[in-house]
Amino acid sequence: MAIPSTTHHAWLEIVTGKRSHPLRFLAAKVLLGRLVHAVEEDPSPENIADCITQLHQLYASNLHIPKVQEDLKNIFG
């Protein structure tokens, strides 16, 4: 399963809290709980890019997990 690159707008929408998705991958939920807050505190482009990279790395490293595949379908269609 392919994963959209970090430049895909959906990653930005997630970490900035502009759009939320009912995720199933526990690690992503826990990480996002922190990242969304971190972006609220520091919405600089550098921090947003760092948060997107962390989330992308998490999903990219777990593409074989069924819950990850469900999340990616949910986020990117």
Partner: protein, 333 residues
């Protein structure tokens, strides 16, 4: 894969056969076991298929992962090096971690795990070792390296488990607590204790607030992490000193709410499983639950099937959790 209560003789037999085991038991019991392919944490409370919840200083709870482990390695960390636990995780597998309660490594992990390098990239599951409640303050919790017999009071022992090709592990939690409808609480500082809190943005003394509101401290604070509800359990309220202590750290900036009451844990547990847990129990590898759920919900003699396992002083699913059931399930991929 199996999770079962064993006698000491049965545990010795399993070790002698070379089974790969995650063990839980009273310190004396674990110390009596021969070296082998196991790691253990001290705790004499368990949930079991046979007896339901029970306390025993004679029995051992064994999670046998022989069938799913194509390889394993025991790693030892201290309060600083535990930050590498995700980096050192197996490429295809999971890491099972044991940390004795209240040691510096426990505190360090609790505070810092969410910021560890490669957080969550590989499954990290485990629990905080404890003692019989009659022994609190008398003896210390331990983690034991079954390969060498080494017993540690401070540090973390990790069994890094490699899975066969075509298998993958994922973690799940069952948390019966939900955010209540009351005030939104945020804390000015991260820590295991809090003197002050922002109640809907207004700064006040937290101990005084809890006392005035007569909030039940058996119910945790609950934070919503993007749909995952994460509890912070109360250890105690020192009204004289104006300090509230927790079993896990509150994090500054995170929004908490006091939990709604849980009236009947076992009934609510069954409802929760029916509602939102699509677990096939044949895929279940490991589970553990919290000593506070065991105590407050009076789980002795009661069953929470398909989940069994040690009753712990803290649960770990990527980071430290409280009053939460944690499990590992296996997938064919």
């Amino acid at each position: 894969m199996s999770q079962a209560i064993l006698t000491v003789d049965e545990a010795k037999e399993a070790i002698a056969k070379g089974r790969v085991l995650l063990l839980a038991g009273d310190e004396a019991v674990l110390r009596s076991l021969p070296n082998g392919a196991w790691v253990g944490g001290t705790i004499p409370y368990f949930m079991s298929n046979k007896y339901g919840g029970l306390a025993s200083r004679e029995l051992v709870f064994a999670t046998d992962i022989t069938e799913v482990a194509t390889g394993w390695e025991l790693q030892r960390y201290d309060a600083e090096t535990v930050a590498q636990v995700y980096v050192n995780a197996p490429e295809n597998g999971f890491s099972f971690i044991l940390i004795p309660a209240s040691c510096p490594t426990h505190l360090s992990f609790a505070l810092n795990a969410p910021n560890y390098e490669q957080f969550g990239v590989r499954p990290l599951v485990g629990w905080i070792a404890g003692v019989h409640l009659e022994d609190l303050g008398k003896i210390t919790p331990k983690a034991i390296n079954g390969q060498t017999g080494e017993v540690i009071e401070d540090g973390a022992l990790v069994m890094a488990v490699t899975l066969p090709a075509g298998k993958a592990a994922s973690l799940g939690i069952v948390n019966l607590f939900e955010q209540g409808d009351g005030d939104t609480l945020t804390f000015p500082e991260t820590g295991f204790s809090a003197r002050e809190v922002f109640v809907n943005g207004k700064r006040t003394n937290f101990a005084q607030y809890l006392t005035e509101k007569q909030l039940d401290t058996k119910l945790p604070l609950v934070a919503d992490y993007y749909g995952a509800l994460v509890n912070i359990s109360f250890q105690g309220v020192d009204a004289a000193q104006g300090v509230v202590n927790f079993y896990a750290p509150v994090f500054s900036g995170i929004r908490y709410k006091h939990a709604k009451p849980v009236t009947d844990y076992v009934a609510d547990f069954k409802n929760k499983l029916a509602q939102d847990c699509s677990l096939d129990d044949t895929r279940l590898v490991f589970s553990c639950n919290c000593i506070l759920n065991y105590l407050y919900s009076e789980l002795e003699g009661k069953k929470t099937q398909p989940f069994v396992g040690p009753i712990t002083f803290g649960e770990i699913a990527y980071q430290l959790l409280n009053q939460t059931l944690v499990y590992v399930e296996m997938h064919d991929v």
